[in-house]
């Protein structure tokens, strides 16, 4: 069922796995959906958020009340489709306003079959998730609405995010190439675990030809493109399940090829180095997070979208099978590890999103850092 709910008052109900319930109106598609309830605090960039594959199987609660104001355009999506499994907003726009807008968000959600809910106290829901942690949720609208107890039972039957291996579900099935913009200087093999469109674009801007490979790519696949550097992308799910990518990364580390990872890629580097990963209570999702680059002391305002983090010691250099490693970046809000780097090898990663989209461009220098590693290796 994918009818638009614009202008209608179809009732909808949101049920959390602990039983808390919010009643509002249907938004986007009418029907039912399940996922992990997470909140995102960005005030701009809903199109990028919706199409970020890392949100696969998550129901995203927008803390900003007005969503949809600039409609939907054809330039800003980060992938080919909307990945969130459900969308929760307070005040959806009735009329979009932007010279780039092509259609309304409401219609887009409905067209892609994304079930949402509007008109609920999103702040109360956010505070609930902050205090109790991210949890499973269901949204039901129209004919999907039933008595509270049976809805709750269905939410409690839905799969959990812990232990979920999702990268392959969202990644490309076929390898493809993003050509360098201008003169080509380097070739990078990018393992797609849920990559956002802006990431290869940021590399291409720097003269990198990016070979985007499926999540199932082997070390042989990676080296088949004769890369100057290897990149591991962001993506959904529990890093503890990503044994395949971890072994590919170990192979890259063995060969000492320049390596860069973002988000899921950071967790994979953590695991490859022998660190653990763990689930944060409610994650970091927003575009205002202060991260300190411990190599320079400077603070950058950054885009985050992660529910898991690497468990590495903040203030000591660790010995790993690939030489010494240290925590290069840390979130100043809660001291969560936001970046790792090897001291004896050209490899580093960050937990947040230097490609932004949505979000500030403060961390774009990290792509330059990757380029420098490849330059140094070539020299």
């Amino acid at each position: 069922m994918t009818t638009s709910t614009r202008g209608t008052k179809v009732p909808a109900v949101l049920v959390l796995e602990d039983g808390r319930t919010f009643r509002g109106r249907a938004y986007g598609a009418v029907g039912e959906t399940f996922g992990e309830a997470v909140f995102s605090t960005g005030m701009t960039g809903y199109q990028e958020t919706l199409t970020d594959p890392s949100y696969h199987r998550q129901v995203v609660v927008m803390t900003a009340p007005h969503v949809g104001n600039t409609g939907v355009n054809d330039e800003d999506p980060e992938s080919k489709k909307i990945w969130v499994s459900g969308y929760v907003v307070r005040d959806p726009a009735r009329v979009p306003s932007s010279w780039r807008s092509r259609r309304t968000l409401d219609d887009e959600l409905a067209a892609q079959g994304v079930v949402g809910i509007s008109g609920i106290d999103t702040r109360a829901l956010t505070r609930h998730l902050r205090e109790r942690g991210a949890m499973r949720v269901g949204i039901f609208s129209g004919e999907a609405i039933a008595d509270d107890a049976s809805l709750l039972a269905r939410v409690q039957d839905a799969p959990r995010m812990e232990g979920a291996d999702l990268a392959a579900e969202v990644a490309t099935k076929e390898a493809y190439v993003v050509p360098a913009i201008g003169e080509k200087k380097f070739t990078v093999a990018a393992v797609d675990l849920g990559i956002k469109g802006m990431t290869p674009h940021r590399m291409a801007e720097r003269g990198i030809e990016v070979h985007v490979l499926p999540a199932t790519a082997t070390a042989d696949d990676v080296y088949a493109v004769d890369p100057d550097g290897v990149f591991f992308s962001n993506g959904p799910g529990d890093p503890a399940t990503a044994d395949g990518p971890v072994s590919v990364m170990r192979a890259v580390l063995e060969r000492g090829t320049p390596l860069f990872g973002i988000c899921f890629g950071n967790q994979i580097l953590g695991r490859a180095l022998g660190f653990g990963t763990y689930k944060l209570k409610y994650g970091h999702r927003g575009i205002n997070q202060p991260v300190q680059d411990r190599t320079t002391g400077k603070v950058e305002v950054t885009a985050h979208n992660h529910g898991f983090a690497v468990d590495a010691p903040l203030d000591t250099v660790s010995d790993t099978p690939y030489g010494r490693a240290e925590v290069s970046h840390v979130c100043l809000n809660d001291n969560v590890v936001e970046g790792l780097q090897l001291l004896d090898q050209p490899a580093f990663s960050v937990q947040y999103h230097p490609e932004a989209a949505a979000g500030p461009h403060d961390a774009a220098y990290l792509f330059d850092r990757f380029v420098s590693l490849m330059e140094a290796e070539r020299a």
Binding site: F22, A64, P65, A93, R100, N288, P290, V299, V301, L332
Partner: protein, 1102 residues
């Protein structure tokens, strides 16, 4: 890297008197900064001439100089205090300009004072149009975004006329360099307008420089507030979008935070450009504000300007986000970095982040065009509003409607009943931006305009237009519904409808709607402003209401006192009332209460979340206040609600609050009525045997004439039920009385006109006093410089009174006590007396904190508002004396003979306004208040104190040069002695023929100059107006000729305003000025801090 250790003392410059474009926001910023610096262990030296500020409270700084903010006086302070550093970015343009001028004169170098928070080069780059254009070009070269509007810099009218051709024709924007609040800028659609605006702009600009720009009228307008630390960490604190598109000064626009109609890509471009600009300009540490225009057709971004300092917008951004920009700027200035400073609200996370909002903030400007009927009310790039209200809601419609009702002005809320009018006419009217355009747009929508039409005529963004349609559709639903069901009611409340609006639509009484709503359980919840959209727990109870699900008001145990603030600043009700509310909060907190502040004015100290235990950023209407009282009653015990410190706004709610069972503390509503109702107050006076001027009320000319005939002309006439002397006039004859009645639209059988005998030649006296039911504490007695007939708010005054003797004070004390007792005051009362001959008349009494409370408190070193708050909650004056809050012995009526003399001078906004023909508005003082602010001069003797007050208000009195004198016949006698003194001080006198004749007969030589009406002489002799414009006159004395002849002086006075020449419009002011000039010429005018004054006073008292 924590704070610098090489700075032990810092001089902070305030912003001086409240003027349009530079108002209470700098008290908020300055107070925050001073407190922070003090808590860092620095010795804080403050200079600010504005007594009505919290920042000039003696406990805020270590040494507080209420002295003129001029390079001369600031140098004296530096010489005396020898500070290590000067922080100039928190006192607006005034502080910045003063600091730059002292730097250029070498004063800072001479005394080894380091400028912190900004460097001179950065200030120049940010403020100089040409340099800033270079900055924007450099930024574009680096990041590929941002450009300036095409423009030309002009230094003469020839340049200006040529410039228009370069830009490709009209319309063009004219912007003078280095003026504050956009003074003197405007749109020129043709050569005539261009000559006028650019001519004035060249004059206003201290560098005789204006910029002509391509028109970007109708584009989307945005602002970003940024902060940078010494490690080059930069954060964007807030984005603001203007509801009114380009063409209206942002201070006059309805503005919204965060930006509503930008995609992330476009927003990040603004952010990148903003960050690149703050770096390129070189603001080392601190905040800046950058304004952008975005073309709605293609997104082309133009950078309009930047302010390398704390500004009105940064105060708004601080209140809108909970991120205290001034406080953090002060910390950055002494060496901290953003990541070393904790976020006050979460306490756990650092300030090196960007606030994210889960609510919408709307600011709406408040204008005072009714005070300047001849002024052109079209909004332009010159700021004209006198205050603002801010509202927070969970969506735009809720915030907007709350903001409009916070303005507390008739017609400011949307109305949905009655005929809207003709659609086309309404749309055409909406093209011209003016006060209340949004209401015109709403009426056009009601009259059938389409969204497209509204956009085409106004260029208001389609998303905002749709929000107006949404509001209108809900109004329609409300009107059409069979009954008020819970869902519809909740929906209406969620979109900001007030009970009063719903009542109007449904044809019900407001209290009936409220009862229905409560019965249906539709009540607001209170959410927290927490900087982080609930990502982290907030420790600071900074609340706003919303019709949502979950409330965040925490239970408490200690009894709470709810203090109602004064709402948006307006002429007649400004920062002085905020001062009293803040003092009450401090005093009651010290006395063990939980203090709860309610206010909707983002400029103020009262709405700083640090001021009270809890802050409700809410409109001050009965509905909103009742809901807060309800919420706080659920949270814990409520000791009472204080209504007498925030001016007329809360006072007007007193009776209704009491009727709704709310415990109003202090002077009871019945007593307020006894003072405000003419009949009841007459009774009080009669019982006390006190005389009031003869008066009567009439509804027709015949009735008014009969009264005037009986009591004799001149008479003071005014409509009943008005504030701030609105529509008040002194009428000298019957013809004018007839005209007044005919012109007045406010007079009707239910709204009679009041006719009072006008006491010509009377001395007006203001008294502030405390009364606890048994004892009177005379706070202070102020003698007005101007005689009765000029609104007390516009009149200069002296404390202690300079010509009243002990016997007079005794009479004033007895009368004050009789009135306070008769009315039933518990707290503060302000009484205005007029001494005519030997009779002491009572003009009026206000049973509340008055405008003069901060002045009186500072002049006598006694915190009257604090004492009033305590008395309201049951303390007695005797107890407060014992406690030390009030002096042990004596009061403001028994000041020692060598007590310093304090002079208050009002500051007028004349230069801000033009009539529709572009001519200035007249500057004559009258019974209607029009000043926006005040300064205080304090010194050992009157002359020096007066001279300081003039220097603080208008610039220093001249000590030599040419004085032009032209006075009304009635003033000619009293002019002779001061004129003789001017000559003795070496002034050359210029006079019109009539005045010159009188002077010559008295042996005083005066050069006759041509009147404006006489035109230029045969030999090219200039008229007086020409002489003023050419800078050949240093002092102007021009008193209005009663009735009729007023226009003769009009040109002179407006020329004086345009040129900034001191212009005295009463002969009393001349006499005072002569004493001031005398003091200045005798040299040795020193500076003395309030703390030193207080020490002296306390020593003399004990």
């Amino acid at each position: 890297m924590p704070k610098r250790t090489d700075i032990q003392s810092v001089l902070v410059i305030g912003s001086g008197p409240i003027v349009i474009g530079q108002a209470a926001e700098f008290d908020y910023s300055g107070t925050q900064a001073c407190r922070v610096l003090k808590s860092e262990g620095l010795r804080v030296i403050l200079v600010n001439s504005n007594p009505a500020t919290i920042m000039t409270d003696p406990e805020i700084a270590d040494a507080t100089y209420v002295e003129p903010i001029t390079p001369e006086f600031v140098e004296k302070i530096i010489a005396k205090e020898r500070p290590d550093a000067l922080l100039p970015t928190l006192g607006g343009q005034t502080a910045l300009n003063t600091a730059i001028s002292m730097h250029e004169q070498g004063v800072l170098e001479k005394y080894g004072v380091e400028l912190i928070g900004a460097n001179v080069e950065a200030i120049h780059k940010g403020e100089d149009r040409d340099l800033f254009k270079g900055v924007v070009e450099a930024v574009r070269a680096k990041i590929g975004h941002g450009e300036s509007a095409r423009s030309v810099i002009c230094h003469s009218m020839d340049d200006v006329l040529k410039g228009v051709e370069t830009l490709g024709g009209y319309p063009v924007v004219v912007r003078p360099s280095f003026t504050m609040g956009g003074a003197g800028s405007g749109f020129a659609h043709d050569e005539e307008e261009l000559r006028r605006i650019a001519g004035q702009g060249l004059t206003l600009s201290p560098t005789t420089e204006v910029l002509l720009e391509e028109s970007i009228l109708g584009w989307k307008e945005y602002e970003l507030e940024l902060m940078r630390d010494k490690h080059d960490n930069v954060v964007v604190v807030c984005s603001i979008e203007n509801f009114d598109p380009m063409g209206v000064h942002t201070g006059d626009s309805i503005t919204v935070a965060p930006a509503m109609t930008l995609t992330d890509r476009e927003y990040q471009i603004l952010r990148d450009v903003g960050i690149a600009i703050i770096r390129e300009v070189g603001v080392d540490t601190g905040g800046c504000n950058i304004q952008f225009a975005v073309n709605p057709e293609d997104g082309r971004v133009i950078v309009i300007e930047m302010n390398p300092r704390v500004s009105r917008s940064s105060a708004l951004a601080s209140k809108a986000t909970g991120f205290p920009i001034a406080k953090i700027a002060a910390r950055l200035a002494v060496g901290y970095t953003l990541d070393e400073i904790p976020n006050d609200i979460t306490e756990k996370t650092p300030a090196s982040f960007e606030p994210t909002l889960d609510y919408v903030v709307v600011k709406a400007p408040r204008f005072a065009f009714e005070k300047f009927p001849s002024a052109d009310s079209t909004l332009t790039t010159t700021m004209k509003s006198v205050g603002e209200a801010m509202a927070i809601g969970r969506n735009f419609t809720e915030a907007l409607q709350k903001a409009l009702r916070s303005l507390e002005k008739k017609g400011s809320q949307f109305a949905f009943t009655g005929e809207p009018g003709d659609k086309d006419e309404l749309l055409r009217a909406a093209v011209r931006p003016t006060d209340g355009r949004i209401n015109t747009v709403m009426q056009a929508i009601r009259a059938g305009a389409t969204p497209r039409e509204v956009f085409d005529f106004t260029k208001i963004d389609p998303w905002f237009v749709d929000q107006l349609f949404l509001i209108k559709e809900i109004a329609d639903e409300l009107a059409a519904a069979e009954k008020l069901g819970p869902e519809l009611l909740a929906d209406a409340k969620r979109h900001g409808f007030s009970d009063a609006q719903i009542a109007e639509i449904r044809g019900l009484r407001e209290d009936v709607v409220r009862e229905v709503r409560h019965a249906l359980g539709v009540r607001p919840v209170y959410k927290t402003v927490d900087t982080c959209a609930a990502e982290f727990a907030a420790k600071t109870p900074y609340f706003y209401s919303s019709y949502d699900e979950e409330s965040e008001v925490a239970p408490r145990e200690r009894p709470a006192v709810i203090i109602l603030g004064s709402g948006p600043n307006r002429i007649g009700q400004g920062i002085e009332f905020d001062y009293s509310c803040v003092h009450a909060s401090f005093a009651l907190s010290d006395a063990g209460y939980e203090t709860v502040m309610v206010n909707c004015n983002p400029e103020t100290v009262s709405t700083d979340y640090d001021t009270s235990h809890r802050l409700y950023f809410e409109p001050l209407t009965l509905e909103d206040v009742l809901e807060i009282v309800h919420a706080e009653t659920l949270a814990g015990p409520v000791a009472g609600v204080v209504v007498q410190l925030g001016g007329q706004t809360p006072l007007g709610l007193a009776q209704a609050l009491k009727d709704n069972g709310v415990p109003v503390v202090g002077t009871p509503p019945e007593a307020i009525h006894a003072a405000e109702d003419r009949g009841a107050f007459g009774q009080v006076l009669a019982e006390a045997g006190l005389p009031a001027p003869k008066h009567g009320t009439a509804t027709t000319f015949a009735g008014a004439k009969a009264i005037a005939d009986e009591i004799g002309y001149p008479v003071l006439v005014r409509p009943s039920y008005v504030l701030g002397g609105r529509g008040m006039e002194i009428v000298y004859d019957e013809a004018r009385l007839e005209a007044y009645i005919a012109e007045s639209t406010e007079i009707s059988p239910t709204r009679p006109v009041l006719v009072d005998r006008f006491l010509d030649d009377a001395i007006e006296i203001d008294v502030d006093a405390l009364y606890d039911g048994t004892e009177l504490y005379l706070g202070g007695v102020m003698e007005h410089i101007e005689e009765a007939g000029i609104h007390s708010g516009d009149s200069a005054c002296a404390l202690p009174p300079i010509t009243l003797g002990g016997f007079d004070i005794k009479r004033l004390r007895a009368s004050t006590e009789a009135i306070a007792k008769g009315v039933g005051v518990r707290g503060l009362i302000n009484i205005q007396f007029a001494m005519a001959g030997d009779i002491l008349y009572v003009l009026e009494a206000n049973p509340r904190a008055s405008r003069t409370v901060p002045f009186t408190s500072k002049a006598t070193a006694v915190p009257l508002a604090k004492a009033a708050a305590r008395i309201s909650l049951g303390a007695t004056i005797a107890e407060l004396r014992a406690e030390g809050l009030l002096p042990r012995n004596g009061d403001g009526g028994t000041l020692p003979l060598d007590a310093p003399i304090s002079v208050k001078e009002a500051v007028m906004p004349w230069s801000r306004f033009r009539d529709v023909h572009g001519r200035g508005v007249d500057t004559v003082l009258g019974p209607e208040m029009r000043s926006t602010g005040e300064v205080m001069g304090i010194d050992a003797v009157f002359g020096t104190a007066y001279a300081k007050s003039q220097a603080g208000a208008y610039g220093p009195l001249p000590t030599k040069g040419r004085a032009f004198i032209s006075v009304a016949n009635r003033d000619k006698r009293s002019m002779i002695f001061p004129a003789r003194e001017l000559v003795a001080h070496g002034f050359e006198l210029l006079a019109t023929s009539g005045t010159a004749e009188v002077l010559k007969r008295n042996g005083i030589n005066a050069t006759v100059v041509r009147k404006q009406s006489e035109g230029e002489g045969p030999g090219g002799e200039k008229t007086i107006v020409r002489l003023i414009h050419d800078g050949e006159v240093d002092l102007i004395v021009n008193t209005p000729y009663g009735t009729g002849g007023r226009l003769d002086g009009y040109e002179i006075r407006t020329a004086a305003v345009a040129r900034g020449v001191p212009c005295l419009t009463t002969v009393q002011a001349l006499a005072a000025a002569v004493q001031g000039i005398d003091a200045l010429n005798h040299g040795g005018v020193g500076v003395r801090s309030l703390q030193e004054h207080a020490q002296h006073l306390i020593a003399a008292r004990d």
